[in-house]
């Protein structure tokens, strides 16, 4: 094909270009522009040699970015000239393995595409009702990848040899399964089985058997993409209750899977942004306001205003949803506080006694991934738990990491982050590191990420808290430079990183607890911060937490500490005091004596105190429950706001006790919890806005960044953002990176790099 003016170029494409149909796309592009040559994968991404007329080569090169497939993320295309060799045709060549992978990326798992779904429903198709159908646009990726480069032999599909028909599709540049690594069919691919509680196979079509179990009120374990789930019919109150009892999960809401967006619309009110997220390829759980008449048992999400809904993301989930025609609860297959089960033997063992039956298959899961969880804020995504469908997509930052970084994250809701070049890879949700199983999955996850991204960490970042197990893990790494990053500095830095902003900004970090630079527990902080360092410019008034961790589990203790601070011995006639009459005096004395009562400026604990005073929640069953339920109670019609003084000084102090005192007076006067919750949210937001204004006046800074788990609360977030905008601040909020501790590793990584650059 090369004419007289033919030139040849060597092209390198970096970014998320493996496992997303990029090589077939390049073949198609080459055909369209009459370019000859070849394309292949290597650990650095995609390499291409192309030969043709200069104008054709230019169009070809431009098309690599402009026309890339939907799941691809092209970060860099570099071109260098080569000697023309003639020849014709364009082909895919074998992958090359090299020493220094520096650009190849493993993509996240993607929900079943429309074309595959059509085949699934087409009785004439050879993949009719085949639960493992996929193509270059959809299917398993991160959860089955064992190494790089992304090739079938580096996935758990290596266990299955392609049949002739599949091999033909795989090798045909015109086919939508051209070089789709997990390609398979009923003749050659994984198969489904239903197993009874005893682990023995049940006769019949496995989907039909499992559907029958669910309809009979049983708990069924289903092996999905990133691990085992437990399912019951969402409308079956008794089954939901049984699931709660067996999973030992008393109150944390369950997510519900609906067959399609229309079915989801009967469960929750879906604004357009929510529907877009629900139907997108990431397929997260979307939190949306529950419909009053939703056909869902009360025990699915007790005390919550929102309901988490998701759509099927594998053919298996589609088949089951279509067969049942009613929504089913889908929750991670584990006991409370343990990581999701994903290895077959272990899952059968751990879920014995929890599940009445198993719907399983023989494709191994290499990396576990829980379902992701998102909310909608101002028409944009607000990721609360970033896991399946998101990880391990890189977070691009406009700075380079001088040396490879591992950031170990926090203790709870842990994620870690490995970073190199200008990319940071935030891990899937790992969980709470208290349990050994979770710590092990953390350590295995770190090794897996380092392997698939070719990173050997030289700098290891960790939290300032010496007893986080992630900190202990960091300190046990050998031959690395350690950097301790203060918890709330990391929160603000993660928000900055998401926006590619280098600071300085006025950071508002509101969360549960993190160890402060002064040895007290912070959590309601105003930090003047850039990526290198921070100054504590202000904070919520600090109070003792009587009993330390016990005060986290029992929000009423925070009520006791605050009310004692405000009123001393003369407590008003509040119901919360009566409910804890026996322990109240001892808890107050502990607070006064400082007996296991560390001081905290935490916003989360402030929410706890108000939730208990308002009669919303005294004792929690999961982290953040009291605050979430207080938010759910907010009366949207209420316009009042409790006033709170600012106590000027260095640092500035927000007199949070004013809010608590006003709430207590209202409650004692019989004002309902909805109005108290609203006045508290609005009062706290107003106080934060005024405090930011004061810090802005002192520093000249006009940008604020909001981070920390408390800003998952969209009522508070909206009030603070709109207040700051009225004051003409530029406001940075989270979207793709969680504001909570699930995003903190990214902040640690960029702070470590900023200090490494100096």
């Amino acid at each position: 094909m090369s004419g007289t003016g033919a030139r040849r170029i060597r092209v390198r494409v970096e970014g998320l270009v493996q496992g997303v149909g990029f090589r077939p796309f390049v073949c198609g592009l080459a055909g369209a522009y009459g370019v000859s040559g070849f394309v292949g994968n290597d650990p650095g991404g995609v390499f291409i040699e192309a030969e043709g007329e200069p104008s054709a080569l230019d169009a070809f090169t431009a098309g690599l970015t402009a026309q890339a497939p939907p799941l691809a993320l092209v970060e860099r295309v570099s071109v260098e000239p080569a000697e023309p060799v003639g020849g014709s045709g364009f082909r895919i060549v074998a992958s090359r393995r090299g020493e220094q992978p520096d650009g190849a990326l493993v993509s996240p798992d993607a929900g079943t595409c429309a074309a595959c779904l059509r085949e699934l429903r087409d009785p004439g198709d050879r993949r009719h009702r085949y639960p493992f159908a996929n193509c270059t646009d959809c299917g398993p990726r991160f959860t089955i990848v064992t190494g790089v480069p992304y090739d079938r032999c580096a996935t758990t599909m290596a266990d299955f040899e392609m049949c002739a028909a599949c091999a033909l599709e795989y090798g045909d540049p015109g086919d939508r399964r051209f070089h789709a690594q997990p390609v398979c069919c009923p003749a050659c691919g994984p198969s489904l089985r239903a197993l009874g509680a005893d682990g023995l196979p049940a006769a019949g079509d496995p989907v039909e058997v499992a559907a029958g179990w669910l309809e009979a009120g049983r708990v069924v374990a289903i092996k999905g993409l990133g691990g085992y789930h437990l399912a019951v019919l969402a409308a079956d109150g008794a089954a939901v209750a049984a699931l709660r009892a067996r999973k030992r999960r008393e109150s944390r809401p369950f997510a519900v899977l609906a067959a399609d967006a229309a079915a989801a619309g009967t469960l929750v009110h879906l604004e357009p942004a929510a529907e877009r997220l629900l139907t997108g390829t990431s397929r997260p759980i979307v939190l949306a306001p529950r419909r009053r008449d939703a056909p869902v048992a009360g025990a699915v999400a007790p005390g919550a205003r929102d309901l988490g809904v998701m759509l099927p993301y594998t053919p298996l989930h589609h088949l089951l949803a279509e067969r049942l025609a009613v929504p089913y609860v889908l929750t991670s297959g584990n006991l409370t506080d343990e990581p999701i089960a994903y290895r077959d033997e272990e899952a059968l063992r751990r879920l014995a006694g929890v599940a009445d039956g198993f719907l399983v298959h023989d494709r191994r899961i290499e990396a576990p991934a829980d379902d992701s969880l998102v909310r909608v804020f101002r028409g944009r995504e607000l990721v609360v738990r970033r896991s399946r469908g998101y990880a391990p997509a890189p977070v691009g930052v406009p700075w380079r990491f001088p040396r490879p970084v591992l950031a170990c994250g926090a203790q709870l809701k842990n994620t870690f982050c490995v970073a190199r070049g200008n990319q940071a890879f935030l891990s899937q949700h790992i969980g709470d590191l208290e349990s050994y199983e979770t710590l092990r999955s953390f350590a295995e996850g770190v090794e897996h990420f380092c392997r698939i991204f070719g990173v050997r960490p030289a700098v290891v970042a960790h939290d300032l808290h010496p007893e986080y197990l992630s900190t202990a893990y960091a300190r046990d790494r050998e031959d690395v430079d350690l950097i301790a990053v203060q918890h709330h500095h990391a929160h603000i830095a993660s928000c900055l990183a998401e926006h590619g902003h280098g600071g300085p900004v006025i950071g508002v970090a509101f969360d549960g607890l993190g160890l402060g630079a002064d040895g007290t527990l912070w959590g309601g902080e105003l930090l003047v911060a850039d990526l290198v360092s921070f100054r504590r410019a202000g904070h919520l008034e600090a109070v003792p937490m009587p009993g330390g961790a016990a005060a986290v589990r029992q929000p009423w203790r925070m009520a006791a500490a605050w009310l004692d601070r405000i009123h001393g011995d003369a407590l008003p006639g509040l119901a919360v005091v009566g409910r804890h009459r026996e322990q109240w005096p001892a808890v107050v004395r502990m607070a006064r004596a400082g007996l296991n009562s560390p001081l905290t400026s935490s916003a989360g604990r402030l929410f706890d105190a108000v939730a208990a005073i308002a009669g919303v929640r005294d004792v929690i069953g999961y982290e953040g429950q009291a605050a979430a339920e207080l938010e759910a109670r907010v009366d949207p019609g209420e316009r009042g706001a409790y006033p709170a003084r600012l106590i000027e000084g260095e640092p500035l102090v927000i007199a949070a006790g004013d809010l608590v005192g006003a709430a207590a007076e209202d409650v004692a006067a019989g004002v309902d919890a909805g109005r108290v919750a609203a006045r508290f949210h609005r009062g706290l937001a107003a106080a934060v806005v005024r405090a930011v204004r004061v810090v802005g006046e002192g520093t000249g800074l006009r940008t604020a960044a909001l981070s920390g788990g408390v800003f998952q609360n969209t009522v508070l977030l909206e009030a603070v953002v709109s207040g700051l905008e009225r004051e003409r601040f530029q406001v940075l909020v989270h979207s793709r990176v969680p504001p909570g501790d699930g995003g903190i590793a990214l902040g640690q990584a960029v702070v470590a790099a900023a200090n490494d650059r100096r």
Partner: protein, 328 residues
């Protein structure tokens, strides 16, 4: 302040300051006492300083605490406690009646343990330069059994034994401070352990023993796991804790595994002899509540894992200093 809590911080302090300064082979293992070979026989030598507030508490006072503590340090090294010294630092104006009371309880404790206080010293410092009264005791004991005890003897398959209900000293003292204004029928567990230890050594092959003082049983178990390069697994339901201690710990937000004892020890014994070990201990009043609480496993090395009543596995870490919540 954190350096007194008995966990990682005090260990770091000891290693950074004293081990370095006094470097010698007898000090190196950082056991409760040093074993010295004098040619005519082996002796164990130990010393400990005692500070406690309040000085008098249900079940004891600083005096018997100082005697029992040193007796116990000698005993868990396998020695028969013999002679003690006692040194006092007194704040000017400290009531002589209180000092008499302390001396009397020391004498009673020495009598009970079969040891004699053979030498001593007293210093008085200015008012405000000390908190009433501090006592330092040192002791020597004879190593009459041909035992080899220590973390290096611990191996997978061994059983972990606690000699009685835990946490009573720490909670009794906390209540006695009066901050809580609660009343509880609870006394410190302070007691001499030499008879129970001797009975155990006579009954079964013992790998190592340690009294669970500051930092509680959790700290001892971490020392075992780290020192021996093994995992220690503990069954939460098997750990003896009196309901009154459980209740107080719930109120205080403390984990009984980390609360100090003054009359309890942890023993690691040959796993095949676990029941015999417990039976031998239960014949003595100070260890009638002995129980097998766990076992030694090959890995994960250096870790203490608690199998919880809920079926999970919680990591029992060495505390760095005063406990701070890790929950966010």
């Amino acid at each position: 302040l954190a350096h007194g809590a008995g966990g990682k911080a005090s260990r770091t302090l000891i290693e950074a300051v004293f081990v370095d300064a006094f470097r010698n082979p007898a000090l190196q293992p950082l056991d409760d006492g040093a074993t010295l070979d004098l040619g005519t026989g082996r002796l164990v030598f130990t010393t400990d300083a005692y500070v406690v507030s309040p000085l008098f508490f249900p079940g004891g006072d600083i005096g018997d605490l100082a005697v029992n503590g040193t007796v116990n340090d000698l005993a868990v090294c396998g020695a028969r406690p013999m002679h003690l010294s006692a040194a006092f630092v007194l704040e000017e104006g400290f009531p002589i009646a209180d000092l008499r009371r302390i001396a009397a309880s020391m004498a009673a404790a020495a009598e009970r343990a079969g040891v004699r206080v053979v030498t001593g010293d007293t210093k008085v410092v200015q008012r405000g330069k000390a908190d009433g009264c501090y006592v330092t005791t040192a002791g020597i004991g004879a190593l009459e059994r041909p035992v080899a005890l220590g973390e290096s003897q611990v191996r997978p398959g061994d059983a972990v034994i606690v000699s009685g209900p835990i946490g009573e000293h720490g909670i009794a003292v906390m209540i006695a401070r009066g901050d809580l204004d609660i009343e509880a029928d609870l006394a410190s567990d302070t007691a001499p352990l030499h008879d129970a230890v001797a009975a155990l050594l006579d009954a079964v092959p013992v790998r190592m023993m340690r009294d669970a003082t500051r930092g509680g049983v959790a700290t001892v178990l971490n020392e075992v796991a780290r020192g021996a390069g093994v995992a220690v697994t503990v069954d939460e339901r098997a750990v003896p804790v009196r309901p009154i201690v459980t209740g107080a710990c719930e109120l205080l937000g403390l984990d009984p595994l980390y609360v100090a004892c003054e009359g309890r020890f942890v023993a690691v014994v040959d796993g095949d002899h676990a029941e015999a070990a417990v039976a031998a201990l239960r014949r003595h009043p100070v260890s009638e509540g002995a129980a097998v609480v766990g076992s030694i496993e090959p890995g994960p090395a250096g870790m203490v894992l608690l199998n919880t009543a809920f079926g999970g596995t919680r990591i029992v870490d060495l505390l760095v200093g005063d406990p701070l919540p890790r929950i966010c």
